[in-house]
């Protein structure tokens, strides 16, 4: 059983999701059974993810040859500390999202819980696979689940956003396949470890093909991660999505970032001969422009969800800066920041939804409206999440940004990175405090206070639990900072050590 552990984060949501489509979970009236089962499934996945993390960080990275077709021929799953951390992060985020949706969002459409499971299946698979074509398949799994989740509960706004999102991603999938065809034609393999081995000894003409393939892949990953200039879809899509789905989408951009880290460190990394670090000069300026656009966007957004969407873009830019530094220390810092920003933006989306629910027609727009029913509770939650997102001490955002600021070694880099990250943090604080002031302190003159308050729906205990689960992670990351940093550093070392990957796969013997 233990040697099959690595495939469990894929199998549990797949089989669980399929079971939920059958009796005794099928049918509108059996939602209670589905809810219990969904929570049990996600808890089981968290347990497996912890076990994989302990095994991958304690001993060595694990690989799993599906169907026992050994590398480089079969499809290989590979869990190093990086993949294991990200799977744990996904499943933990899934727990928060599922708990939040138990308040009633899951009853707005019939297949909510199975779709969430399929979505998590796709994300886990993308993190665990070590085969580029398999990565494409898992991308499609997570995409088709996200298409359906985006239009969950229906509505004009959602349909329009979904149409754009689906068409863009279908074009992205075509580009992905073009890239894979080019790369396979040039290198002759799609196993990431095998590609890393072969890319340094390509002939002149194949080298050009491999370069084109790598550049096409960057377009795909850039689209997924909302890197400039491929970010236009993100704010609209995330604002239109139902709140728990938007929170789950917070990890989807990070899938793109993870792929950039994996592919351009292992395959097109330092040891790739002529193609070594080929995208670094492109990413470096794009990262700064991405931060700038996201920051300006968050300043001009008229809604809280709009701010949250633009802050996702800022976090993508920050991660790309850390990528462009190309050192293990920077990768470790990026991973730390990635964990923090995923949970923080997810919590921000959920809190924005709760605020919108209690403000009647005003929703989460920044207009003067009535007082919130749970003013103090939501106010404190918003205050905390704003501090976390903006990166103020004592929360995890501070730690993540500090590590990224410490990563560069050259003075010129330091100047650029300090100004970009600190300025964007300042603007984020301004944008969020403007939002908070309007929502919590400025109210319309009350005509009938009792009626107004009765109109607002109560907060469900599940919604509060979901938000708190995500929020509590931030101080925990700070308290156990030493352990988390140690873990991310180990992950970064394992990622940058290409020889380790090739050794684990025992590819040298095949040569």
């Amino acid at each position: 059983m233990i040697e099959h552990m690595i495939i469990w984060p894929i199998l549990i949501p797949m089989i669980g999701g399929l079971l939920m489509l059958l009796p005794p979970f099928k049918g509108i009236e059996r939602y209670a059974a589905r809810r219990v089962f969904a929570v049990l499934l996600i808890l089981a996945q968290i347990a497996t993810a912890i076990a994989i993390l302990l095994s991958a960080s304690g001993n060595a990275p694990i690989f799993y040859a599906v169907g026992n077709w050994l590398p480089p021929f079969g499809i290989i799953l590979y869990a190093d500390t990086l993949s294991a951390i990200l799977v744990l992060l996904t499943t933990f985020l899934g727990l928060g999202v599922i708990l939040y949706s138990l308040a009633g969002e899951d009853r707005a459409g019939r297949y909510y819980h199975p779709l969430i499971q399929f979505q998590i299946l796709g994300i886990n698979g993308a993190f665990l696979t070590n085969d580029l074509f398999n990565l494409f398949v898992f991308f499609e799994v997570l995409l088709i689940a996200s298409y359906s989740l985006l239009i969950h509960a229906g509505g004009k706004q959602k349909t329009e956003a979904a149409l754009h999102y689906v068409i863009l991603n279908l074009i992205g999938s075509s580009i992905f396949l073009f890239a894979l065809g080019t790369i396979y034609g040039a290198i002759g393999t799609l196993n990431i470890a095998d590609m890393a081995l072969k890319i340094s000894s390509l002939s002149e003409s194949n080298l050009l093909l491999a370069q084109i393939g790598g550049a096409l892949l960057l377009v795909v990953f850039g689209l997924k991660s909302a890197m400039l200039p491929l970010h236009f879809w993100l704010p609209k899509t995330y604002a239109a999505a139902p709140a728990p789905v938007a929170a789950l989408f917070a990890i989807m951009t990070k899938v793109g970032i993870y792929c950039i880290f994996r592919v351009y460190t292992v395959i097109y990394g330092v040891e790739a001969g002529e193609l070594a670090d080929m995208i670094q000069p492109i990413i470096w300026p794009l990262a700064f422009v991405t931060i700038a656009i996201g920051t300006v966007g968050s300043l001009v957004s008229p809604t809280l969800k709009g701010i949250a969407g633009n802050l996702v873009i800022v976090s993508v830019g920050t991660l790309l800066i850390a990528f462009a530094l190309r050192t293990p220390e920077a990768t470790a810092a990026a991973l730390m920041y990635l964990i923090h920003s995923t949970l923080a933006t997810a919590a921000l989306f959920l809190i924005a939804d709760l605020i919108g629910l209690q403000r009647g027609k005003a929703g989460d727009r920044f207009v003067i409206s009535r007082k919130l029913k749970n003013q103090s509770l939501l106010g404190s939650c918003f205050f905390v999440v704003a501090m976390v997102v903006a990166g103020l001490p004592p929360f995890s955002g501070f730690l993540g940004k500090l590590l990224i600021l410490q990563a560069p070694t050259l003075n010129a880099d330091k100047f650029m990175i300090f100004s970009a990250i600190l300025l964007s943090s300042l603007v984020t604080i301004v944008a969020l405090s403007r939002a908070g002031t309007t929502i919590f302190f400025r109210h319309a003159p009350v005509r009938d206070p009792v009626k107004d308050l009765n109109d607002s729906p109560d907060l469900s205990k599940w919604q509060i639990t979901g938000v708190l689960v995500l929020l509590i992670a931030s101080p925990l990351i700070t308290i156990f900072g030493a352990q988390v940093i140690e873990m991310t550093q180990l992950a970064a070392q394992q990622l940058h050590d290409v020889e380790l990957l090739i050794d684990v796969m025992r590819l040298r013997g095949v040569e």
Binding site: I144, V166, I167, I171, F178
Partner: protein, 121 residues
């Protein structure tokens, strides 16, 4: 054969991209389908084109690479499912948004532009 193949893939990709840039959902869906065909043919050719080569060892003197064939099969199945989804979604969008435009409504300035031109004539 190579030339014919390249022209086919090129023309399909060209028409696919052209149609994807149209404003209404029907041409966009057709464009996505064409792009799908183009990419499938392209993937197939990534194992190099050769005639009378068997994909199984010991059957013939020449061998064809079986991996691109497997990849194409997977890509066809996935592409088919995705096109089915986008067809249903665009029908839903036609009902929800009241028009078959990708943006839901016609951009206002182009309409003005057309009207002013008509006025001149």
């Amino acid at each position: 054969m190579e030339l014919l193949y390249v022209i086919c893939v090129g023309v399909l990709t060209f028409s696919g991209i052209f149609l994807c840039l149209r404003a209404r959902t029907f041409p966009v869906v057709v464009g996505l389908t064409m792009l799908g065909y183009a990419v499938n043919m392209f993937l197939f050719s990534s194992g190099r084109l050769n005639l009378e080569g068997a994909a199984i060892l010991g059957m013939a003197d020449k061998y064809a690479d079986p991996l691109p064939q497997a990849l194409v099969l997977t890509a066809i199945v996935i592409g088919f499912a995705m096109i089915a989804f986008v067809v249903i979604l665009s029908m839903r969008a036609r009902a929800d948004l009241g028009s078959d435009l990708v943006d839901g409504s016609e951009p206002p300035d182009t309409r003005k532009l057309v009207k002013s031109k008509r006025g001149d004539a």
